[in-house]
């Protein structure tokens, strides 16, 4: 039953992304709330089903976006994989892991988007894509990383109260 919380959380995240966060620009870059939310959720202790969250979020973003659904699904799965990797390496510093996953995850998803768009025959100058879209996006994602991590930590403690480790 606790997995049902994924439905409102993912829906709210994607709606906020499309209606609010996509309108807040830094140069041509925007924050990726679903990415940061998944990174924060994957880092919570005792939380399972993060793979399902990644697939569901990726499919929903792919449905709304003009980009191929492969990009968000594969990208978000890689975020979860990255989170597991970092959790094992830097488990004593969750905020450091959060920043690292946000940083590398944004770069991975951006490069995947660029590759798919260029593969579809669209001319996309790499310098513009990296300098004006990806790097500002990285900065914005880092800015929202801490608040999103805090919200997801509270949600995880609420949903998984018995597995909390002091």
């Amino acid at each position: 039953m606790r997995n049902l919380i994924a439905v409102p959380v993912i829906l709210l995240t994607v709606i906020l992304q499309s209606a609010v966060f996509s309108r807040v620009y830094l140069l041509s870059g925007i924050a990726d709330l679903p990415l940061v939310m998944l990174a924060a959720w994957s880092l919570q202790e005792g939380v399972d089903s993060t793979w399902h969250w990644a697939i569901a979020t990726g499919l929903l973003v792919g449905f709304i976006s003009g980009i191929s659904w492969i990009v968000p699904v594969a990208g978000y799965l890689m975020i979860v994989a990255l989170a597991y990797l970092f959790q094992q390496r830097v488990w004593q510093a969750p905020l450091l892991a959060m920043f690292s996953i946000t940083f590398f995850g944004t770069i991975i998803v951006s490069f995947m988007s660029i590759a798919v768009i260029r593969f579809s025959g669209v001319e996309l100058p790499l310098s513009d894509a990296l300098g004006l879209v990806m790097l500002p996006g990285v900065l914005l994602n880092m800015l929202i990383a801490i608040p999103v991590y805090t919200v997801m930590r509270d949600l995880a403690r609420w949903m998984y109260p018995f597995q909390e480790v002091e």
Binding site: V14, I15, Q17, S18, A19, S22, R23, Y25, L27, S28, G29, I30, D32, P34, V61, I64, S65, G66, I67, V71, P72, S110, S113, I114, I117, S120, V122, E123, L124, P125, D128, A129, L132, V133, G137
Partner: protein, 258 residues
Amino acid sequence: MALALGGYFSSASNVFTGSLVSLQTWFSARFVAVQDFLTSPRDIASLRQRNAELEGDVAELQAQVIQLQQEVGETQILAGLVDFIRVRPENSYRAAAVIGLDPSPFLHYVIVNRGSNDGILRGMPVVTNQGLIGRVDAVIADAARVQLITDPASSVNVRLQNAETEASLVGSVTGELTLELIPQDIDIQQGDLVLTSGLGGGYPPDLIVGQVVNVRSRDFDLFQQATVQPVVDFNRLEIVLVIINFKPVDFAPLIPAP
């Protein structure tokens, strides 16, 4: 008594009453001062309560002002759209509100709150009262995704009003619009108006797109390029019009299979 009535005590009476009045004035002033001092805390409490009530009223009025300003803004937008429709009665339009943007920063799409239930189909052009913004890319029952002309994958056949030549308008990842395939012998000037040509059947002709702001012409290039300033502010899209009686031409069946 007789002396008093005769006016013999008037000076003494004046001195006496004057002293009394002065004394009463002194007492009255002191009493009022003491009364003010004793009742002032009650007044402050009532003033604070009144102040809170007035602050509540001010907040309510400010909310009303914001709501009315929003309604005025929407009315102005709608009035502009109605004017646009009156100027072009040959087309049928469906108004739609922009409810979201594409989550990917590399693409330029918007989501509108009208779909196939409202007669909207894939390929229909989308405009505002200022000019062309794009065309419908995908449709579900109650919503549609619109590809803006600023999208890197967008290509619109246009013509330059003054130069009377045709060109191709392409978008970019930063939202910049570029005119391509302009022959070298064509004289383009800054400020030239860019309109849809209708060539290719993707868009109706004579929709305003923007103005030329910069021309790049090099001798060794086959074609000139120009930067176009769109007439529409794509960052502030709120209400758009979908031209629902325009059927885009699909060339796919005519393209021979490899």
